[in-house]
């Protein structure tokens, strides 16, 4: 189910294709405080926001090729907020000089019946995890520092176990397809976080094999 590269497709009515630019890195627990201080200084002035989210990843396996993946996320700290459903496409491989991972991104909000709906549609949950940490914003870019935990008993978000002793740091930006200005901003911001964190483009398909 490989979609053609989105940036080459014409925009034919309806919503514009949004691309997500992503840079990832990690930071050890002991360096977390200094990273948070630096981010508080570099980012837009807002109250420090923490979040606790539970993400479920649903797969739809067709007869051919790669399964279709949808990510459903809900907030454990705001239980009444709507669910967030996200589709992330394959990373664009066009431009080698582009510093960030670029992929098509579709975000929608959904009601609390989302898991049942996805099951009815034929999706099956592949894995789930909880993420909790801090979120910062700088202009269009979003910086998320989160601690991932695996869920030991499916469906029970209280009983979790940390995946590693590091926090995942993600710098992401959303832009309409074709506009590449976010990439430069992200690269210069990533420079400012060195040597605490090395944010780089990590291709998930290379990780798998």
């Amino acid at each position: 189910m490989e979609a053609p590269p989105v940036t080459s497709m014409p925009v034919t009515g309806g919503a514009v294709n949004m691309m997500e630019y992503l840079l990832q890195g990690s930071v050890l627990d002991q360096a977390l405080e200094s990273l948070l201080h630096r981010l508080r200084g570099l980012c837009d002035n807002m109250d420090p926001e923490t979040f606790t989210d539970h993400e479920l990843v649903y797969l739809l396996k067709g007869q051919q090729g790669n399964p279709f993946i949808l990510r459903a996320r809900r907030s454990l700290s705001h239980p009444t907020s709507p669910w967030h459903l996200r589709y992330l496409g394959q990373p664009e491989v066009g431009d080698k000089s582009r510093h960030a991972l670029v992929r098509n991104c579709v975000d929608v909000a959904a009601s609390h019946s989302l898991p049942e709906f996805l099951n009815e549609m034929g999706f099956r949950m592949d894995h789930e995890f909880t993420a909790n940490g801090h979120i910062f914003r700088k202009g269009v870019m979003k910086i998320v520092v989160s601690k991932l935990s695996r869920i030991l008993v499916p469906g029970n978000t209280e009983n979790t176990e940390r995946l590693s002793l590091s926090y995942l740091v993600e710098l992401s930006g959303l832009a309409p397809a074709g506009q590449d200005t976010v990439s430069e901003d992200m690269r210069s911001f990533a420079e400012q976080l060195k040597p605490l964190v090395h944010l780089e483009k990590i291709d998930p398909s290379k990780q798998r094999h």
């Binding site: 050890l28 360096a31 099951n119 592949d126 894995h127 995890f129 869920i151």
Partner: protein, 228 residues
Amino acid sequence: MAVGSGQLRSALWSAEHHQQTAQEREDAVLSQPSNIPLLLSPDRDEDLAKLTEQRVPVFSHEIVPDYLRTKPDPEVEEQEKQLSVEAARIGPEVAQKQIQTLNKLCSNLLEKLNNPRDDRDSESAAIRQSKPSFNPADTNALVGAVAFGKGLSKCRPPGPVAPGHPGQGPMMSGGPTLQQVTIGGGSGQQAGMGGPVAPQQQGQPGKIPSSIKTNIKSASGSMHPYNR
């Protein structure tokens, strides 16, 4: 000697009888601290505007607290009072010692900032290397977990999961259970949605075809009932 004394005398004379130029006279008026406002009017005063380069066109009540202020702001005054009380409280010897410490700290800092030393750079670099703040292996592990669930337990139940349990939250069946779902592209036919797919028992890796066939055709534009 005569020329020198002549110059000295003329310099002294001009200092005593200094005739101010018009500009200097104006500046002197504005910079004298004993200005007394005699008249406040809300009318625009052209001369004043020209004098102040259009910054004060009206000498009215609004500009009084800003331009004619001689005491500091009330909050500042309060803070200053507190500081002077504090200073009086600690006594002169303690104050002197504090002043000396501050001076020493400032001079140390200035010295460090003004004299970049090579050995200082290398020692700070060594410290940074011995205490790394991130671990690339952890990065890869975390990215793998987020991207495709590496390290997260996949939900594969050992037994069959009956389809009639809608209220139990996400169903825990395994991944490859949808072999009987045909996802065809739209071809002008009506979109038909079959019933819910029944997950199959996964006793072995082979797929057991079920009797339930569902046809989920993706709805494309051509299947719109209101064909344009």
